[in-house]
Amino acid sequence: MRGIRFQILSKEDLDRIHWGTLHILEKVGVQVDSPTCRKLLNENGCEIDEKKRSAKIPSHLVEEAIRKKKSTITLAGRNPKYDARLDLKHSHMCANGNGAVAVDFDTGERRNSTKKDLIDSTTICDALPNVHVHWPMVSSTDMPPSVVHLHDLEASLNHTEKHVMYETGVTLEDAKNLTAMGYAAAGGEKEYRRRPITSCLQCTYAPLQHDAGVMDASLEFARSGVPLVFFCMPQPGATGPASLVGSVVVGNAEVLSALVMTQLSTPGAAVIYGLGIAPLDMRTTVRAGGSPEHAICSAMGTEMAHYYGMPSCVGVSGTAKEPGIQAAIETYTGCVGPLLAGADLMCGIGLLEDSSCLHLEQVVIDDEIVGAIARLIRGEWACDDTMALDIIEKVGIGNNYLAQKHTMQFLRTDHFMPSLMSRESEDNWSKTGKKTVKDTAREKVKKILAEHKVPSLPDDANRELTAIIDKVKKPLWGGESKVQ
């Protein structure tokens, strides 16, 4: 794909951010809460302060980790036609993930999300052409707390044939269970390692911290062949410098240090460079996930990732409270910037209230917005077919092109056909009930849920998944002592 690209950071800017990041990693270091990871870093020549749980990482370790990275990572679908090949040349979309609230499609009530919401949203994502990778959009909060994340994965694997990325592998035990479920769904470890149909997004903690559970889980995922995203989220002005580039440095240090630990433990592990830098709104204290700053940081994050030869994963997350004008502006702004920079995986469509609340209508509206952007940035080129000199000559002066095969053919590739937006005349629009985009989106949701059937996993795979969930399920938490 040729694709239109804009460039925000020059080669010199990229170099400066890289060297600046190395300086921070050597001089300030990062906090590493996991004793296993501190031991690993210590054995490889990092300066460890056990009291502060911090590690100063020499530049050569970072450079070595970058050399071991993978530049092409295929997020395999259960059905190979949905494989998302992240190769630094193509952009893919992914829904937003793990909200805990949903607005009920039938009653309009805002309530805790359920497994049924997850199944419905997964089915819709499976049907939509501009969603390429799936994230469990909401949590099954009606399931027992200890196994909510396992139910999320089970429902996702059974209701889409696309690749499933989750973000709930936050302890070593979680990592083992989620991996076992991935193996079961793929038909065994060998098959999974060949075609990983799940992956895990892991958040680093700004500024400059790595949670113990998350990193222990990450090393386990890497050993088990589960692709990882390390996703940094400094908030400019709060957990990162207010200058956007300063926050990119902080985030870059977090991602690179996580990469160092992972590559030391499992050389050649599949790691995607993730960055979601959105400012804290300084009036409301809410994360401005639909801001132009988020979009521009995601574009810069993609440029940094590609500078290292790594695929990028960036996001958008509107702060609108309902589908409508604000949500559309936020999705559009948030997606167009990073996609113009060539983001490999762009997450975040479909949830509102900054990644918290599911509206099924918004999922299909965002799919339409992405469709329009995909057309906008596809790129144009002059070749015999597009120049169409022979057709122009054939049609001649004053006639029209409607009855040409060339028209029929290029209509399908060169013209975006909206499925929700109205292009009919005012007259027709009035006669058919003056439908808004939200109205047509509701119709589309209903149609998909009524008609779209996704093949479930084989019975024996489902028996394995159920067995894993039953084994893990335990009484409510409580009474544990503080883990140091």
Binding site: R111, T141, V170, G213, S481
Partner: protein, 210 residues
């Protein structure tokens, strides 16, 4: 009011984080009643800052710097308050982020907002086990126990603290928040108040002690 108390108030309003401690020392040296200095100087100053923030005239960094200035002066003035006397506050809040969760920026903002609005805040930090919340709430005679969780995986821990708290210490009110937390969820686990953002937490806390 003594001139130096007015200067203390202005020092909060002008976010003089680095120099306000020296000014507070002068207050003590000059024999000014530390309670007067706190209530008519610091508290009045932070009230002005809070009002400006509420009107949208200033932003969060200014509010935080104002609160930091107040904190620096309190560290000097509070030890000088004669035993048995206490500064007037709206109430005592014990706050923390639940076990296995280390996301603290929201919790820190709530702490700042509450202290700049007249509450005394004791921050237990992050990754706080249920037992610590329960122990501190009782020991410190808290009016409000405030908890945060950012992850859907740690969110249920708030409910596991509220249930025994209601039994052992029914007078302590609970206030919860965090990205995945909702009003519906708060009701479900029996929390007394919920807030979706740090500014709202002040109103919630006032409801609880009002």
């Amino acid at each position: 009011m003594e001139e130096i108390v007015t200067r203390l108030k202005d020092a909060v309003i002008n976010y003089e984080m680095e120099t306000i401690a020296d000014l507070a020392k002068q207050v003590v040296d000059q024999g000014v009643d530390p309670l007067v200095a706190i209530e008519q100087g610091l508290a009045e100053g932070i009230k002005t800052v809070g009002e400006r923030f509420g009107k949208g005239e200033i932003f969060l960094p200014e509010l935080v710097m104002g609160a930091e200035a107040m904190k620096a002066a309190l560290a000097v003035l509070e030890p000088a308050v004669p035993q048995g006397q206490h500064r007037a506050t709206l109430g005592k809040v014990v706050i923390g982020t639940v076990q296995d969760d280390i996301h603290e920026i929201g919790k820190n903002l709530v702490s700042t907002m509450l202290s700049s609005n007249g509450f005394e805040v004791v921050d237990l930090g992050v990754n706080v086990p249920a037992a610590d919340f329960l122990k501190k709430a009782g020991e410190l005679k808290a009016n409000i126990l405030a908890m945060s969780a950012l992850m859907t995986t740690t969110m249920p821990r708030m409910g596991e603290i509220i249930t025994p708290l209601k039994k052992d210490n029914p007078s302590v009110k609970t206030l919860i928040g965090g990205a995945p937390v909702t009003d519906v969820y708060a009701k479900e686990i029996g929390a007394d108040e919920y807030s979706g953002d740090a500014s709202g937490a002040v109103d919630s806390a006032k409801n609880l002690v009002g």
